[in-house]
Each structure stands twice: as structure tokens, then as C-alpha cells.
Symmetry: C2
């Protein structure tokens, strides 16, 4: 494997950064990996498990001399980090991030990027409900898309290198415009997460059905919601606050449709329900065919249990 960047620095050492470390090692990338995260406790864990070649005690120390700096902090923390490390970024280095929202990150980080540094936002479209440096695994990005979201002034060669870097981690890549990215993610990720959080909250709140009943009988559908509703609260708070417009637009559409289906239930309009439910099946087939999920019964859970 060719070495694309000599020294790679991760600011933030959660699920994505730790998975990137594992995937870099799996790919035999000879790069030096350094990392920093705000919490001392998390830095100690990262050291203990040997996540990076070096865990630094400041973001500045990690970022200086790095050829690629990847901001892996919640979206709301990007600006402060960029402000702090901007002055020490090496000329010719690439600054990227993995934030789930792109427009506000570009607006927040852009002003702190010094001349001669290539700022190329990105977003790996993969995740699990787990967080922290212990949650990473090398396969997270395999066959999943990473959106590369260049800004107007992004250098072509630098974009090509970052793209190759992500492909080496196992990802498929796609170049996207920031606003379109934010809308697509509002549909495929942000609105579904808010809806899942809401449904789980309702179940938890309901006096006439106990939590223990919800838990015992969750295999009937609810369980699929709880996985995404267990995702990192800080990350998701920041996503919604930073992709406000697109998320609210999609939620508005969602509410409209939900009301139409509720009315069909109330009025006993079985044809409306049947037609709607038939249409949604085809999207699922598309996802299976595109290799973005397994068709195994019960999501492969049965097999996983047997191992």
C-alpha cells in the first residue's frame, strides 16, 4: 500500500477516528498516526489500547507537522478546534473532517484555514450506535460511501489524494456539493434518527406499558429503532442544531404523510394503506441489490447469535 500521507493526526478519538486507525493499519499504511481528544480519560484509554502511535496532550501538538489532519469532533466543536490548530497547520497539509453536516462545518472551519493548507471536508456514511475509542473496527467503512465535499478553492491533486486515502480504508467515494449533502443526509439519516429517538422516548414515557414489556417484546419492530436511538447524544444534538433547515423540511413532509396514513387508518381505507406499503418494499430491494444491507433473515442476527 502506498503511503499517501506521512503523518496523520486525528482530533477526537471516537468511533470514526478509531475505526480509521484500524482501517489504516489493516491497509498496511505506513503512516505515523497521532491523536488527541479533549478528555484525559479517553486519551488514557487510547494509550492503553495502543490506538495511535502517539496520543498527544494538545490538539496543537497533534496537528503540527501532520500531512493530514482529520477533525473527528462533534459538529458543534469544529470551530473551536479549527481556531486552535489553524496557526500551526503545515503548508501543503490537508485539513479534513468527518462531520455529519457539511455547510455549517465549512462556514465554521473555513475562516481558520491558512493559505497553502487544503481544506477538504468529508463525511463517511457509516456508523454504529457505539461511541468512544474502543468502539472502532477496521471494517466500518467497507463498501460504504464516503462523501468528499470539496469547497470552491480545493486543490484537485489534494482532493484526489484524500479520495484515494478513503478508498484505501475500504470506502466507496462520491463527490458531493455541501447543500445537497445536507439534504440527502437529512432524508437518509437525520430525520430517521430523530424519529427513532422520538418513538423510543414515547415508549419509555407510556405509563400503561412498562419498560420491561417494551424490552421483552421489542423483537417485533421496536428494536430496530432503539439501535439508532442509542447513538451518541452530543453528536446528534449538534447534527440537528447544524442541519436545522433540511431536517425540519423533511420532518414536515414526514408529518404530512403520517397524518394521511393516520386518516386512512381512522377511515378504514385499506386500499390506501396497502398501496403505500407495497411501494415502500421496492426501496428495500434496491438497498439489498446495492449491497448496502444483508438479506439474511432477521438482519443476520440469528447467525450472529449462533457464533
Amino acid at each position: 500500500m502506498t503511503q499517501i500521507y506521512k503523518r496523520v493526526a486525528f482530533i477526537g478519538l471516537g468511533l470514526i477516528a478509531s475505526s480509521m486507525c484500524h482501517a489504516m493499519r489493516r491497509a498496511g499504511m505506513a503512516s505515523e498516526i497521532v491523536g488527541y481528544t479533549r478528555s484525559k480519560e479517553t486519551r488514557d484509554i487510547a494509550r492503553e489500547i495502543g490506538l495511535c502511535d502517539q496520543v498527544c496532550d494538545s490538539a496543537v501538538e497533534a496537528a503540527q507537522d501532520a500531512d493530514l489532519v482529520v477533525l473527528c469532533v462533534p459538529v458543534g466543536a469544529m470551530e473551536a478546534v479549527a481556531k486552535e490548530i489553524g496557526p500551526v497547520l503545515k503548508p501543503g497539509a490537508t485539513l479534513s473532517d468527518v462531520g455529519s453536516v457539511k455547510r455549517t462545518v465549512i462556514d465554521a472551519v473555513g475562516p481558520y484555514v491558512p493559505e497553502g493548507v487544503h481544506f477538504i471536508p468529508a463525511h463517511p456514511l457509516a456508523g454504529t450506535e457505539h461511541s468512544g475509542p474502543r468502539s472502532g473496527f477496521a471494517e466500518l467503512f467497507d463498501n460504504r460511501y464516503t462523501a468528499i465535499v470539496p469547497v470552491d478553492e480545493s486543490d484537485q491533486q489534494a482532493v484526489a489524494e484524500l479520495t484515494m486515502f478513503w478508498q484505501s480504508l475500504g470506502a466507496l467515494t462520491e463527490t458531493m456539493d455541501p447543500d445537497h449533502h445536507d439534504l440527502v443526509l437529512a432524508v437518509t439519516s437525520h430525520a430517521p434518527h430523530l424519529i427513532a429517538y422520538t418513538m423510543v422516548g414515547v415508549a419509555d414515557d407510556l405509563r400503561r406499558v412498562t419498560d420491561s414489556e417494551v424490552i421483552k417484546y421489542s423483537a417485533t419492530g421496536f428494536r430496530d429503532f432503539t439501535r439508532i436511538a442509542a447513538s451518541d447524544p452530543v453528536m446528534w444534538r449538534d447534527v440537528f442544531l447544524n442541519n436545522k433547515e433540511a431536517t425540519l423540511e423533511i420532518l414536515g413532509r414526514f408529518t404530512e404523510e403520517l397524518f394521511a396514513l393516520q386518516r386512512a387508518i381512522r377511515q378504514g381505507d385499506g386500499d390506501h394503506l396497502h398501496d403505500y406499503f407495497t411501494r415502500t418494499r421496492s426501496i428495500r430491494r434496491g438497498i439489498i441489490e446495492a449491497g448496502q444491507d444483508t438479506d439474511a433473515p432477521d438482519f443476520g442476527r440469528v447467525k450472529a447469535r449462533q457464533e
Copy 2:
């Protein structure tokens, strides 16, 4: 394995009935298994794969002489089947079903149950998005709950036998009151399914984001919704039409909460969002601890792919 029923008849040969056939065989139950389903094509498939010892060409033929008859048809079709087979049910036989709604099934089937036949509704709380006789597998009920929902006149001994039968198929069992069952299922299954169907419908409808984008980027949350939104349209139409009150009640609560979260997003109230998202995490932990899901990264999908 003791033989609880000598001859077991399944009316309807979809996911649940076919999984019950496989689980009976796995348990070494020596019973004779007969089956019937309305579609000739499905009967031919059932014969081809040797699902039952005998596939009959009428419900009456399957039900007569059976010691246990299990209605595995959509909830809306239960009444017609009960009316048809009622007269031939053997004295001392048990009539059960696997419908996802219990109150309306009891009201619809009850009047056709002859004296001396034990009518004991039940509902296995397990499923996948697949349907038809080829979709069954023996492990479907393992470690999942089956609700046994006796009616007032249910015979204790007959209830004990049906309970033992389900336990032999791998299930945990729980006796429940029909109305409480319908409320619990509205929370854990019916409302989540309607919400998932709605979200997938919205994504499909949105002009500015293509279906191919939705499919490619679905690993970010949306995918989990599409699985349950791919479930059998006829079955789910009937569920909503037959558990109208409870489902609409839960959807009302859901909409209220969703509006509160939308307002928090609009107003930038990060604390409200963070608190809400923190609370929902604990329900997920409960589900993992209760063995109702795997904690494997990415839902065990990575492992499933590697096999």
C-alpha cells in the same frame, strides 16, 4: 420430545407457519403436519419444498381430524376461515392463531368455535421482512416471546398444552390479556411499522433526492427503517385496520413528542435534545441485557457479510 398434538394443521403457509413447521421438525415432534393456503401457487411451493406432511386443497380438509389448528392468515381473513372450518373442528381440539392483533380476532373467530373446542389465541412476537412458505426458518422463535392470550372460557389444561407447544418451538411464553396485548403491540410494533413505512415513503417521494442516492447512502440510519417497511403489505394493512384505537393513540403521543423536538431544533434548544437522546440510550441497554438483540457492531451485519 413428547408429542403434544398428534395432528397439527396450519391454515395459511407464510413466514410464521413455515417457521413453525421447521421448528416442530427441529424439536423432533412426531406430529403429522398438514397445511392449507388459499393460493394454489403457494400450495405448490409448499409441496415442492416438502413443508408439511400433506398440503390439502381446502381448509376444511386440513382442519378436520386435527388436534391443533393454527390460523396463520392475515387478521382480516380470520373470520372467513373460522366460519368455514368451525363445523368440522374435532371435539377436544385446540384452535389457535398467530395474529398480531388479539381483540378483533377474538371477536371475529369466537362465534364460530363449536362447544368442546378450545379456542386459545396466541401471538409469536417475532418476524422478519420476508413472507411466503420459503421464508421460514426453525430459529425464528428462539428466545423470543410468544403471547398466549386465553379467553374467559379457555380450559386450563389446553392452555398449558399450547404453552408447552410454543416452548418446544424455542419460544419464551407469557400469558396476556387481549386489550393489554394490543396496546403493548401498538407501542412495540404497530406504531414503529407505520412510522417506518411513512419515512420510507417520504424518501421515495422526494424529488430533490433520487432513489439511487437514498439507496447508496442508506447505511446512515435509513436502512434500519427499510427493513420493517418491507414487511407484508396485506398483513400490515389488516393490523392497522384491526388495532385502530391503540395505534392511533400511540401515534398521537408520537406526534406530540416529535413536535416538541422539532420546536427544540427550531429554537436551538440543545439541552432539551441532549437530555432526550441520553434517556433513550438506556432502553437500548435493557434490550441487549434481556438478550433481545445483539450488541455486535453494526447489528452483526459485518460478521454476516464475512461468512
